[in-house]
């Protein structure tokens, strides 16, 4: 596999355009967590023309709901959840300037097209490797909706957070290409 590429959030267009499906990437900087319930709220705020609790422009959202952090730790295990469930909300966030998403699994063809057209990138993290991934999280604080429990939006500081490019800006699609290549 290729040597990993280090990128820092928030993401610039130059960085985004250079990424290709299958590239190994290490993410640095600040990313935000949001999964089902938080997406519902974020999309509703956008539809109603309200401000989001964080500025999504050029940011990355990580689809995860971590396990509780035991005392003295930064965060509990935090692996990706299924991305396709966020598809109904993704277009609104892309319109608001979101440029990166981390999750597991293939997006719908419509969402993959919307991501590409927005010049954004969808990254895949290894589902089921939650302790390994949490080790790249150096800081975690509540950004919004603490009443959602495990679905609270967190602001994370990450170092070398390991992902693969799954949907790139030029039509590449890692899941589809991978499966088609190995199907017998």
């Amino acid at each position: 596999m290729s040597k990993p590429i280090s990128i820092t959030a928030p993401l610039t267009d130059n960085v985004l355009r250079a990424l290709r499906a299958g590239d190994r990437v290490l993410i640095q900087g600040v990313i935000y967590t949001a999964r089902d319930a938080a997406h519902r709220r974020l999309a509703q705020a956008l539809r109603e023309g309200r401000d989001l609790p964080f500025d999504p422009r050029r940011q990355i959202i990580y689809y995860t709901g971590p396990a509780p952090a035991p005392p003295g730790t930064i965060i509990g295990p935090a692996g990706p959840t299924t991305a396709v469930r966020m598809d109904p909300f993704t277009i609104h966030l892309l319109q608001a300037g979101l440029k990166g998403m981390i999750g597991k699994g293939e997006r719908s063809p419509e969402t993959a097209a919307a991501i590409r057209e927005a010049g954004a990138v969808y990254f895949a993290a290894t589902g089921g490797a939650a302790i390994l991934l949490a080790r790249s999280i150096r800081k975690a604080e509540v950004a919004a909706y603490p009443e959602l429990g495990p679905e609270t939006v967190l602001k994370l500081e990450v170092k070398d957070f390991p992902v693969l490019v799954a949907v790139d800006t030029v039509g590449g699609n890692l899941h589809r290409e991978g499966r088609d290549f190995y199907r017998m």
Partner: protein
């Protein structure tokens, strides 16, 4: 008449659920390593490396290997000559789940109502299956069942004209459609026969069987082997990134059924089979 205190049931459920969530099937690491040795896809091998390293970290830290510590699925086989004393059996099960979540830092993932969706905060209630059996013991089996794989499971009522091939093709289609969402390599539980409501329960019981165990009936053992071989040809691969190692294991459970039906349920479990049993 033999008796067991309800508190003992709560203690057992707490221990089993926590152990299940934190320590997957003991054969898992070896099975993943064997799959890695055969995997042709570099991305697939990288995913298997991550999963094996993550299991090592789980062992070292005692933390759950996945943030989704599941729905607590509890199977109770209650001997008809056993009395539960000093409390309500069903409440004892939920109390066990509550304790495991609090003490083990498991994730509360249950909402009280499917449409209004407010989190109960302690992962209760458990999904409970109770059977009355001969004897004076209580057998408990607890699974921590993740939603990623559960969401992709499926039920189909075939007609008796359908054969093995149709069953295997259906299972392969379920795995293919699930792709990365079920966190492959997956465990495929196939429930055949019974009724509209029993086939899924058979499939659920099937995924709680130990890794590598084949059906005692050679006919069904052969069906399991054929299903594994077919599912590995879908190309889904580890992490759904394409590859050869898609099926970690497959278990079939069958039951009598009506002359007009052939119910079929496929329940998927992910690369983290998590279940524990005990007898009181």
């Amino acid at each position: 008449m033999r008796s067991v205190r309800a508190e003992k049931v709560a203690e057992a459920v707490a221990r089993l659920y926590r152990e299940a969530a934190c320590s997957p099937d003991p054969g898992l690491e070896a099975a993943l390593a064997a799959g890695r040795a055969r995997e042709e896809s570099p991305a697939g091998r990288a995913v298997l490396n991550d999963l094996i390293e993550n299991l090592r970290l789980a062992r070292q830290t005692g933390a759950p290997p996945c943030q989704d510590t599941g729905t607590a699925v509890v199977f109770l086989e209650l001997g008809q000559d056993l009395r539960i004393e000093g409390g309500d059996l069903l409440e004892a099960v939920d109390e066990g789940v509550r304790r495991a979540v609090r003490e083990g830092y498991l994730r509360p993932s249950i909402v009280a109502d499917p449409l209004r969706r407010e989190n109960t905060g302690d992962n209760t209630p458990a999904v409970l299956h109770l059977e009355i059996v001969p004897g004076d013991r209580l057998k408990l089996a607890v699974a921590a069942k993740g939603a990623g794989s559960e969401n992709m499971s499926a039920l189909k009522i075939l007609t008796p004209a359908a054969g093995e091939e149709e069953i295997i093709e259906f299972a392969a289609a379920v795995v293919e459609k699930a792709g990365a969402s079920a966190c492959p390599p997956v465990i495929v539980g196939i429930g055949i026969g019974g009724n509209f409501e029993t086939a899924p329960l058979l499939a659920k019981k099937a995924i709680t069987l130990p890794l590598g165990e084949r059906h005692p009936d050679p006919f069904y053992a052969a069906l399991e082997e054929k299903a594994i071989e077919r599912i590995n040809r879908t190309g889904v691969g580890p992490g759904g990134l394409g590859g050869r190692f898609t099926c970690l294991d497959c278990h079939v459970l069958a039951a009598p059924c009506h002359i007009a039906s052939l119910p079929l349920a496929v329940n998927l479990d992910c690369c983290l089979p998590r279940h524990q049993t005990a007898t009181l």
